[in-house]
Amino acid sequence: MTQVENRHPSETLEINFGPQHPSTHGVFRMQMLLDGEKICSLKPVLGYLHRNHEQIAENITYAASMAYTDRLDYLNAMTNNFAYAIAVEKLAGIEVPERAEYIRVIMAELARLVNHITVIGFLLNDMGAFFTPLLYAFREREKILDIFEEVSGSRMMCNYFRFGGVKRDLTTENLTAIMQIVRRFPAFLEEFEALLTKNEILCMRCQNVGILPANLAVNSSITGPVLRASGVNYDIRKVDGYSIYKRFDFRIPLGEKGDVYDRYFVRILEMRESLKILYQALNKIPQGEFLNKKTLPFLKMPRNFKPAVGEAYGRIESPKGELGFYLVSDGTPQPWRYHVRAPSLINLTVLEDICIGQKVADAIIILGSIDIVLGETDR
């Protein structure tokens, strides 16, 4: 962090970035105090997309909330569903069949691919590349979204997971299509990297910009690729080993300095690790049930699903960080308390610390590299 001396107030320029700004990724506002182009202070202002998601969920059944979790982080509905399903299964003690676990992992990793390529595309857009990397990313994303559509019925608002399994089974055609994506994705990543990784302008813009030291990152509860770019080895897939992640052989890429470039490149490497997981999962997926038969009556009558009094905190490694759901049940069909631990909200904690002393243009790409989705931030 660079200390900026206090200048006379008339020499600084106060400017509101957002809520209507093309690169704040939604309706997000940054109150900046600028000295020339240098940032003296930055305050994030949230709540423009607030819809009291938690209040809504406390007034409807557990199953109906699944559709609302899609709307949290609308880029990867699959992982949101995953986290919620895990929390409810913990609460009610539901077992998940083997095949369903595999399907869940496949979908979550596909969602991770979707999220990371989209984020890198938007990061480059913030940097001023005129949509080219973004559209290359979208070209690949479309193929994955096609799979989501065939499987769940919707491209983005999947609503695919159910307590104790998933909504629909994966057919052999689906599996072959996913395998084809996994086979072709490395070639796309090579092209993407040829376009970006060694590009001098990108390196000049990204390297040594927005450095987040490891101790600050841990102390600020940062999670996800942003934390790992700072060099902290913490991935909930490894730590908790939830679902069946313990069975796969994959590794966690770590960054060196924790700047924007590391955040970009850790995401690229994470995609490659995801591909490894997908490859293994697709080869190992067993035959069997895709939904716990005991939960079938609850599917037809969601109001009969009444977990015993208690509480549960289920968390997963979503592409943005730790996504957790804290549920308190009072034995009625509606949860007594439903709380979302949203990674993109909590990752914003450090925004001011790493932006101070940088230029205006840097603040934009730092925000882009932290990767927020306002649906999840504001809830």
Partner: protein
């Protein structure tokens, strides 16, 4: 176990490890890319290649991947869900729906409104008198379809429903707009419709078996 035809014979870790590691990152340090500006030029080669291939490659191999919407259309996917509709068998007055109101109760954004029909004497009939869905509120989650015990409400494939008005004749759809024949369901969702038909037939047979009068003792 699903086995995929693979060019590589075994799926051991070492077989695919090199495929999923970054060649750019692992480039040797004496690489010619060390010249300043070479990375940018390489990026320009990538865009030039995409420019050229956009003229004669197929969409999934680096060609143009956009769909020219009104003329070209994306192939319809059976599981696609958009907005709910009601199914009738044969003629529109034979609605499958019995106005039980489960979907109304379970709908998360509460966009369904049902009242039961009454006959002349004022006794309720198992048929909806009013069945309204506010399409502007519906969030396409598909829960109504899942919970319906009579297989009467389904998610449609129609998505061109834009309307300049929100209330009258706009986004609030009444029963007569929502009703669609079971043939239509068969057309858009062949698998689901066949499954439901089979289930119905089985149920009917079972009913017949139960209704069959008990045979007297054979002498």
């Amino acid at each position: 176990m699903t086995n995929f035809p693979s060019k590589r014979k075994s799926s051991g870790i070492k077989q695919w490890d090199h495929v999923y590691t970054s060649s750019v990152q692992n480039a040797p340090s004496h690489h010619w890319l060390k010249i300043f500006g070479a990375g940018a030029l390489k990026g320009m080669v990538v865009t030039l290649k995409n420019f050229v291939t956009s003229y004669f490659r197929k969409p999934d191999q680096g060609g143009i991947f956009t769909v020219q919407y009104p003329e070209e259309r994306y192939p319809e996917i059976e599981n696609y869900r958009n907005l709910p509709f009601l199914v009738y068998d044969g003629s529109p007055d034979k609605v499958r729906c019995v106005a039980c109101g489960i979907c109304e109760r379970e709908c998360p954004p509460k966009c369904i409104y049902i009242t039961m029909e009454t006959d002349v004497a004022g006794k309720p009939v198992r048929k909806p008198a009013v069945f309204d869905i506010d399409y502007a509120v519906c969030m396409n989650c598909g829960i109504c379809e899942e919970v319906c015990p009579f297989d009467s409400i389904f998610m449609d494939h129609v998505f061109e429903i834009a309307s300049p008005r929100r209330i009258d004749t706009g986004m609030i759809r009444h029963q007569e707009d929502l009703l669609k024949s079971s043939e239509y369901l068969q057309k858009i969702r062949p698998k689901t419709a066949t499954m439901i038909d089979e289930k119905k037939r089985a149920a009917e047979e079972k009913k017949k078996a139960v209704v069959k009068p008990p045979q007297g003792p054979t002498v």
